[in-house]
Structure formats: C-alpha cells, structure tokens
C-alpha cells in the first residue's frame, strides 16, 4: 500500500510531488466521466498509457472502470506488447476497441508507404474510430515534457469536426475549471498526464509496483545501427545492405510503431535502475528513440494539427 504523506504527529499537510500529480490526474478523470457521455482511453500497452490506466482505476475505485479503452493498432507491433495489452484488458474486464491501420489501408482510407512507419497513418484510423463509436472525450497519455508542441497543449484540448488542433486559438484554461463543451462531431482530447515528466512516470511505476512490458528493462536483443539509432530486429526491421547485426543489452524508452521505435543501450533491469538512468540521461526520450520526429523541426506540431494523438 502506498503511504500518503500524512502523519498525525507532524501535521505538515504537504503532498509529495508525485501524489500531487496523482491527485490532479484523478480529478481530471472524474471531471470527464461525470460530464461526457462516451469517453474512451487510448491504451497502447506503453508505459504512459499503463500509468494512465492505473490512475483511471484509482479515480473510480472501488467501482469498475467506467470507460472503454481503444488501441490504434498500426499492425507493426512488438508481440510482447500486444500480449501485455490483452492481458491487462482482460484483468480489468474493460471493453476494448481495436482500430486497425491495416483495415484503413485495405479500405483505401490511407495509402501505405512500404518500409515507412505508419505513425502518421494512425491519425485517419483514430479519427474514423472516434467518429464511428461517437466518442466525445479521448484520453491520451501524452506529456508536455515530451516535445515542444506538446508543451503548448491544454489538458482539455478541443478538436473540431475534422479532428484538428488549432494551436493558435486554444481555449483559455484557468485553475482546474475545464471547459469540455463541444458540438456533435467535435470532441475533446484529454491529457491527464500533462504535467508528468518521464522521471515522474518511472518514479510512480516504482512506487506503485506497476507492471509494464518487459522490453522497458534491459535485455539482450539483436539490433542494427541505423541513423545512429539501435533498431531491434523483428518482422519489420531486417538488416539492409551492408548493415551489421549485433547482439546488445538494450531497453526501450518508448514503445510505439515497431518500424520507427529504437532501443537504447542500457543495463537498467529494475525500475530503480531505470530511474537512475533517466535522471542522468542527457537525451530526451523522443530524441533517443523516435526516428519519425527527426524529419522536421515541426513534425509533431504538423501531425497534431491533423488530429494525431
């Protein structure tokens, strides 16, 4: 059981930083569930979405999670993450919607570019699924510390009927009063982890003993070096001409589309060791692991304007 920082002998009435973040996130979950009709939580099996799921559970304890979860499946998955996803969902007994990018491709909604990441393609699948299921609030695990366009986003982020984000014209958001009003066809993206950093996520995982996919911890893996990044071999990453395969002790700092998510060399095998590593690192998690954000300075902003996570 977690210790809240309350003790009768020393009434300091001070919440630790992590518990203050937790309280804020729980408040956000409850606001949404109390005021929206069809909220959905995006769940990929990645560490942020796992933490988000834990916070959602806490917000409604001891009741069951009054939410649907949804995975936008690029079809380029790490098998261990899919296995983890399914196990978590069945443990919680929640309804899961899997929206498939492959299905969007097959239906001609988007065009696949063989060999390229399907990161950007997810947007169409996501928006189609939101429309199909008439979701009005979509919880995402994005954090402001991840990226400079994300650093600008509100907790309740309004999306128009095309799912677009207009960063130049965001609603004012004061105190903890969130304006979730929208017309049919529009929706609100909600980011309960807005104020968490990568380090906060890890400290919380450690404090709470939260299980996450094993690939976040050090393991041996066959990799190739590509653009200075370590790409783990899998169905979609095969050695190219002149690329050398080596076995290295690595872990993943983020888990996304398997074609564009890199591993980092690491011996950190426990949450505590990861915390020490993250606290000392000199490179951001996206910088270290996401090939897709290297295309342009404003890659994330552009994707987000189109309706990306």
């Amino acid at each position: 059981m977690t210790q809240l920082d309350t003790s009768p002998s020393v009434p300091v009435y001070q919440l630790s930083h992590l518990r203050a973040l937790e309280a804020e996130s729980i408040h956000i979950f409850r606001e949404v569930v109390a005021t929206f009709e069809r909220p959905v939580l995006l769940f990929s099996g990645g560490k942020d979405s796992v933490v988000m799921l834990r916070l959602a559970q806490k917000a409604f304890w001891p009741a069951r999670l009054p939410l649907t979860v949804m995975h936008i499946d690029t079809g380029h998955n790490f098998p261990e993450v899919l296995e983890f996803r399914d196990r978590k969902v069945s443990e919680l007994g929640v309804r899961m919607v899997v929206a498939s990018v492959q299905a969007s491709i097959d239906a001609g909604r988007v065009a696949d570019e063989p060999g390229r990441s399907r990161n950007r393609l997810q947007t169409t699948t996501l928006l189609d699924a939101i429309a199909e299921h008439r979701f009005d609030a979509v919880f995402g695990g994005a954090r402001r510390d991840e990226e400079k366009a994300r650093a600008k986003e509100r907790v309740f982020s309004f999306r128009d009927e095309f799912g677009q984000w207009d960063p130049k014209n965001q609603r004012p958001e004061l105190w903890n009063l969130y304006n979730g009003r929208h017309r049919p066809g529009e929706h609100i993206r909600v980011f309960p982890l807005s104020n968490w950093t990568e380090l906060d996520i890890w400290r919380y995982i450690a404090e709470e003993g939260i299980e996450i996919p094993a690939m976040y911890y050090a393991h041996r893996r066959q990799v190739v070096r590509r653009d200075g990044m370590l790409m783990g071999l899998c169905q979609w990453i095969q050695p190219g001409e002149g690329e050398e395969v080596t076995e290295v002790t690595v872990r993943y700092r983020t888990v996304g589309d398997a074609t564009c998510t890199a591993a980092v060399e690491s011996a950190a095998a426990t949450p505590e060791e990861v915390i020490a590593e993250v606290a000392a690192t000199r490179v951001t998690e996206r910088g270290a692991t996401r090939a897709d954000d290297r295309f342009s300075e404003a890659a994330m902003e552009d994707r987000k304007k189109e309706g990306y996570f």
């Binding site: 004012p172 903890n176 552009d302």
Partner: protein, 418 residues
C-alpha cells in the same frame, strides 16, 4: 519534494522566453538533442543560439519571433521541483497569460531596463495580483544594454513599487538580470557588484510557499458519486472529489449543501486504503454516515464554517473573448463542480490598467479588459471570496452559442455586495 509553480509575465520582447531558456540551460535542465535542435534552428535563422527557442516551439511563434501560447516546462534542483508556464507578452494573447498565471504560486514579471514599465507590464502585474499569485518577482532585464547601471535598476524598482502599492501585493522582490548573458539568473553577476540580493534561482528555491494554502475552511465539492453495485462492494456509496480547502477527518460533523442536512464523515477512502485525514489538493472518496441524497455539484463543509450560498454574485472578471461582454447577456457558468447559467446584471466598472481608474460609465468589456460585474445565477452557488480560496472563489463564463470560454471570474466578499 516541494513543488513551485511559476509563470512569466511582462510586455512583448522583454525577454521572458529567453530568461526561461537561460534558467533551464544554466541549471543543466536541457537535453543535448533539445539544445542541438535549438542551435540548428538558430543557425537557420541566421542568429546566435537563441535560448527562447527552447520554449517557443510552435511554427508560428518561430516565424514571428514571439510567444503565442503558454509553454509548460518542468525541472528540478536539489531544493525544489518547478513547473514553469512561459506566457506571451503580446496584448492579443493576454488570455493565454491568464491561463498560465491562474495556477501559479509566483509570477516573474519582466521589465526591459531600457523601456521601463509600460502598459503591458502594468496589465500583467495587475492581473497577477488579481489572480492572487502570492509572490511577485520583478526581473529588470537587459541590464547589459544599460551598462549594468544601478540607477536604472533603482528607478524602475521605485516606479514599480509605487504602482504595486495601489494593488493587492503581499510579497514583492526585484532582481536585475540579463537573460541573454545569464547575469543573476543562476549565477551571481560579476558585472553588478552593487546588487546584494540573491540570484533568481536561489530566490525561487527559497521563497516560502507552504503557508499560502487554506487549511482552515473545509470545502469538498462533490465531483462524482461512486456506487460500484458489485457483490464485493454492494452497499458502497462514496462521494469522489478533490479537497478545495481545509482538513477533513473521519468522525467530523459535516453539512451537505444545498440540502443543509448534517451528518458525520464515516471514512475518507482512496484506492490505496482509508486515510485519517485529507487536505487540499488530495483527491479522495468521502463516505457519510447517513444515506443522504448527494450528487455532483453539492458541497460538503463543516456546520460552523460554511461558504456563502447565493445567486447574486459580484466578481472581478477578465474578459477573454473577441466578442465583447453583453450586459444583460446570458452565459453558462462553471464554478467548482457546479454548472448553471448566469445573467450579467451590471458592469459596475471597467478598470484602466494604466491608472487603475474605475470607469463606471463603460458600456462593455472588450477582449483582455478587466472589470467588476454583478451576476445572477439560475441556481445557488457555494463560494468563498477569491482572496480566501482560489478554488471556491473562481469561475469561468462560457458562451453557449460558441462554447468559448469568455471570462475568468474572481468572486468578491459578499459583505461588500449590496
């Protein structure tokens, strides 16, 4: 570790984003890839490394060289962790400054040493005091451009003090800095030996914030009713919410508003088990000894310490929408977990932020203007004066036609309300 939230404020180009970039850079909170990206972008723009690009992340911001919306940044020193809201100085985006400042414990108000205090510095300082940001630090910036002259610093300081005397400011301090070169930001400046105060970061680490919270008035706005109806928790009925003030314990006698029924707190629960007390900003589930009809928007408090219950409100508001305030108009109001409608009965006055003059004949409030309103709500609101409680004393108004958030309101003491 204790958390300090602070926001920047001040006129356009006074150096807010540069200062935040410098603060992050000199306290080694910048990652290598972030720095490389900023260096690349600076070279492309044909400038020297521009630390403001660490926060000005939007395409439009970089094109125009100004901040448009708040950037949130996070960093920690061994003494404290910080949430920074770097806000825009441009008058058009004042509402984004208000967004960033509404939750701040401290505001850094930047003043360009060459220009001194300008209208926008006054507006932001006044907004910070109106939002009751408890601590103000005036950073007199670009000291490098005035030869690090003590007299310039002292003159601006005196002028600011005189202005601040007419506002509600409890803690005010001044630091002469050069955001560009880093003087007195993280490191003490060798160029200003006459300055004997602490560097900015030292001040941020030391400022005393623990006493800023209200631990006296128990205020628990009910957010959500939890009824599992499962076999295991068949009879469980709990009221979920976040404490907005005071300390709540099992056994406490409480009343529920608006019904006025009294009962006793049976337990205060969390997913991690019951707690023996809860205080702001904890999110908990309160169980009551009696089966009462309690729902979202109700408020739990102590019988001898109740908020004001009323439908006639008076408040200072900052207008946030291009469409002007409509006296007599109807808006949706959100206050704690309660929603209702409100009619604007009267614009009592509009405030001139330069002179603090009250214009009682003003017909309306335009974007970014500040004034005092009286409102009547369709349902009673349970509130405290904003200066006593930032949570139960604040509200927003929403235009029901556009769904835009059009005003931020800070409630006034009903004793002064006729």
């Amino acid at each position: 570790m204790e958390l300090l939230r602070f926001a920047t404020a001040g006129s356009v180009d006074d150096g807010k984003s540069t200062l935040i970039g410098r603060l992050l850079y000199d306290s080694k909170a910048i990652f290598e890839d972030q720095m490389e990206a900023v260096e690349r972008a600076s070279v492309q723009r044909g400038e020297e490394t521009n630390l403001a690009l660490l926060v000005d992340g939007l395409r439009a911001e970089r094109e125009q060289g100004i901040t448009i919306d708040v950037a949130y940044r996070y960093f920690a020193t061994p003494a404290r962790s910080f949430v920074i809201a770097d806000t825009p100085g441009h008058v058009q985006y004042t509402r984004n400054m208000v967004t960033g400042a509404s939750t701040a414990d401290l505001a850094l108000i930047l003043v360009d040493a060459r220009n001194g205090i300008v209208e926008q510095s006054r507006r932001h300082a006044f907004l910070a005091s109106l939002l009751r940001v408890p601590h103000l630090v005036v950073c007199i910036n670009k000291m490098d451009l005035v030869g690090y002259d003590q007299e310039v610093f002292e003159a601006i300081k005196a002028e600011f003090r005189a202005f601040a005397m007419r506002m509600d400011v409890t803690d005010l301090s001044f630091v002469p800095v050069s955001a560009l070169h880093g003087d007195n930001v993280v490191h003490r400046s060798a160029a200003m030996p006459w300055y004997e105060g602490s560097s900015l970061i030292h001040h941020l680490e030391q400022v005393h914030i623990a006493s800023d919270r209200n631990l006296i008035d128990v205020r628990f706005p009910v957010q959500y009713v939890i009824r599992p109806r499962s076999d295991e928790h068949h009879d469980f009925r709990g009221y979920a919410g976040q404490l907005a003030g005071g300390v709540l314990r099992p056994g406490d006698e409480v009343v529920v508003l608006p019904s006025g029924w009294s009962t006793v707190v049976e337990s205060v629960e969390t997913a991690d088990g019951p707690v023996h007390e809860a205080f702001a900003p904890m999110s908990v589930v309160v169980r009551l000894a009696d089966d009462l009809d309690v729902s979202r928007g109700d408020l739990i408090c102590r019988p001898h310490n109740r908020p004001v219950v009323g439908q006639d409100l008076e408040a200072m508001v900052c207008w946030l929408d291009e469409k002007h305030l409509q006296p007599g108009g109807r808006y949706a109001i959100q206050h704690t977990t309660r929603s209702a409608r409100a009619v604007v009965k009267e614009l009592i006055y509009r405030l001139d932020v330069n002179t603090l003059h009250r214009d009682e004949g003003a017909p309306t409030l335009a974007l970014n203007e500040i004034g005092r309103l009286s409102l009547r709500t369709t349902a009673p609101v349970f509130y405290d004066e904003y200066r006593r409680n930032r949570s139960t004393g604040s509200f927003i108004l929403i235009d029901e036609a556009t769904n835009a958030t059009v005003a931020a309101g800070m409630l006034l003491d009903p004793a002064h309300v006729g």
